[in-house]
Subunit: 273 residues, 4 copies
């Protein structure tokens, strides 16, 4: 507790009270989606993206917040993602297309996630990435705010490599609402990610990427489990992590069988519409 830095007691809760007179601080009504133009993408890709939304909710990676996207198969500079809604409720009708700047191609009155620039920025500089997950997982936050490096504690999370970097938004802009609201912040985050699979975001969450939708979902889920395990292990004593030699080999081994988990996760979600 000695490390706790108690900030100045500004009356921030006044802002809360003020909310009743500030329309901007009210919850935005869920815009009723107009009959959307059917997307011309591979139906399997769209189905996998809907499953990814449901799986990540079912596996406690996402709650009412967070999102998952996939690179478009028709135009690789574009990506697909749900309109702004809880991922656990997403259906194929909710998927929208976004351009390389993160702007909706055909919004039709539907709201887009504010933080779509996370996805746009990473797709711009990582041609190998085909899918991206952004989550506020409570298991990850402790690592993002204490500087403890998240490292692969067992073979199934070897994709964490030498450790996940931590993105500090204050390094780009000292006065934000913590959200990646524009391409400048998106680019800074993508730079922090580099060529890795996972980047943590201080006081916010993390991003996991993959060479396919199942691969990104796999990374997102096992990043979370690794965090739980590592936090618990560190309370028992010094941790013997995977070695630099073991990491790339274990990563290849896990990737070879991740379809096994994907089938299981889909079965837990059940039939989707």
């Amino acid at each position: 507790m000695s490390g706790l830095r108690i900030g100045v007691l500004v009356a921030v809760c006044a802002a809360f009270s003020l909310a009743i007179v500030l329309p901007a601080a009210r919850p935005t009504p869920q815009s009723a989606p107009q009959a959307p133009a059917p997307l011309a993408n591979d139906p399997k890709l769209l189905e996998d993206l809907v499953y990814a939304n449901r799986i990540l909710y079912q596996q406690d990676v996402l709650d009412g917040f967070g999102h998952v996207s996939a690179r478009s198969d028709k135009d690789p500079s574009h990506f697909l993602m749900s309109r702004s809604m809880a991922p656990g409720l997403v259906t194929s009708n909710d998927i929208m297309e976004f351009d390389s700047d993160g702007e909706p191609v055909d919004a039709r009155g539907r709201n887009a996630y504010v933080e779509r620039y996370i996805h746009a920025a990473i797709y711009r500089v990582r041609p190998d990435v085909k899918a991206i997950v952004h989550s506020h997982s409570p298991d990850i936050i402790p690592f993002s705010v204490t500087g403890t490096i998240l490292r692969p504690i067992y073979h199934v999370s070897a994709f964490l490599g030498a450790g996940a970097p931590i993105f500090e938004i204050r390094d780009t802009d000292r006065s934000t609402d913590m959200l990646i609201r524009n391409n400048k912040l998106g680019d800074a985050l993508a730079k922090s990610l580099g060529d890795r699979a996972v980047v943590l975001m201080r006081g916010h969450g993390y991003v996991a990427v993959g060479y396919s939708i199942p691969a990104a979902v796999y990374c997102a889920i096992y990043t979370q489990i690794n965090a739980r395990v590592q936090a618990e292990a560190m309370k028992l004593g010094p941790v013997n992590f995977l070695s630099a030699e073991e990491i790339p080999k274990a990563q290849a081994g896990s990737e070879a069988v991740l379809g096994r988990s994907w089938e299981l996760w889909k079965s837990r979600v059940g039939k989707i519409e």
Copy 2:
């Protein structure tokens, strides 16, 4: 453990044994509600209040104990709350109206929650508050009894501002059963809350308020999650909390999208009667 203060070993359990001869200590039979007068409030408000009861149970904020209320739309000095029962079982027929002193307007033999004075006292002094949650969440208790300040560790709980105050009932009355059984204790609690969104209660629980039912439910749920995350983070090392600049901005950002969570939580509860 060095901090443990082992109290005098008074034979308090004798009270337990005595319970068999003390009718007052027996469980009160659930009074069968008489056909209640239908409330003339906005049906949407009543529906949201029933959903709030069910959601808070489904999200583990409430168990057999705790309650949630809403300010009346017909008479803003009055409020609406269930009769004394487990929130997870509440239906619209169980909602009662209370006056500004916390007394039932038309009890019809129904029992009211003993701690209704929590609600009455806050509605009296916080015109901005439209809904109130009181919970005994096990995740919150550790913060209430150790003096560790609960602070926003990530953007979604920015409403915690500079930290939740802790209400010490002994400061008002050294010899209570811990419950807010009257308006004097209610007023002291409301004063401790001040213009904030959340107040912890030592050895008891917490209260979260909001400018709407969804907003109060949101605060109650994310206060609990923040507690889990903060407790875990503090075991890893010194915590880098949201800055004074980030807090009000992040709070506005979260409030703008809380409807997304509300829809998800309702879907988890399913159809209500």
Copy 3:
């Protein structure tokens, strides 16, 4: 970890291997219950006892092991308890009657729980006790093996009084299988419990008693929750427990409304046969 006492590495696992040739160490086949004599007890008491079994499983107090009993309304020196089976599967046909020595009145080939002497011994010396729960809850074990006193950290578990005693079976018999296999061990346990509501058993579990089935179930459930909360709180810092003045008052307050929890728990179990 410095406190860990690593015992001599006796080849105890040989016993495991030997198990294949030692019939006594094999799982006893579940004896198919013969058409049992219908018990002449109050049907409400029998129904509550079945609910208690199911609730305690549903609330994670019991798993395949542990049991719950009720004092007989017909012969207060006798008690009622299921035959030896997982509590979560108990139906009214599985309830047996036991005499004051813990022996089945009419076994009809049904197996009784080995540790029925826990119940017999307590009913003999605690006329106020009408129901008893014995559990191996994982949340309780840490308190039973470290000497940390389990104390009421919030009002709903005030029945813990000045702290739950810890029964050390070695004080009675240094060489047991940890089970309360006879009345001598049962009497020692009952003495350790004294006039309290809860006693922990070192490396084994705990016993909670009540003036009714719902009261014993309530104590069993909130003892477990208190353990989780206290363990977490002690990691944050010195704990401010309920005061000696607050404990008896809070206990009476909670008991007055425990029917509220009982109705909720029953609803979670659903219809029983």
Copy 4:
């Protein structure tokens, strides 16, 4: 945290990016099983093996990974195990037969688990063992990477004896992907297990064995629970483990009633096909 050894920051994540061009690192498509030859084993054994798969998933011992096998009743040098798939989805059609070298007797295009050599090696040297579970349980990993010995903290996990050994794969091969991919590694693991019931695997998981399918499942489940309890207890203070005298007696006592748990676990899984 002082104990954390931060490895060299090799660009292991490049391997991740490269995955898109390395077919070997792609998820293997689930081979559609051809109409398999019906196994001539005791139907009860096959049914129990399917239940074991489902139970271990339902009880959170296995997720998409891990496996469970049984020694063949027809040819005791052979064993039975599912094709490579998530255990939670296994049906009797998925069970394959393996010889004493761990090779499929009649694969018919079905993939076998890479780590089948764990099972083959143990069956070769432990005639008493009739069933084996291999799991990556997150609760076990902390013990495998910190050197903290997992010991029986209560009677139900007395089978842990004087403590579970930890298998260090680096002692046999310094440069692996952590998996038991051949009989040499399998033999080393079996040697580390010795005549015990459980062996942990550093940065990987554990293996639990039994004299029957229910016994192995029982050991696997209570090893996991013991890990949770021990980790929590060690945070409270020095732990008073079962004594060398209590261990073998408590083990026999638990084994005598494990059928009670088995029936419960089966009921949770429900009907299998």
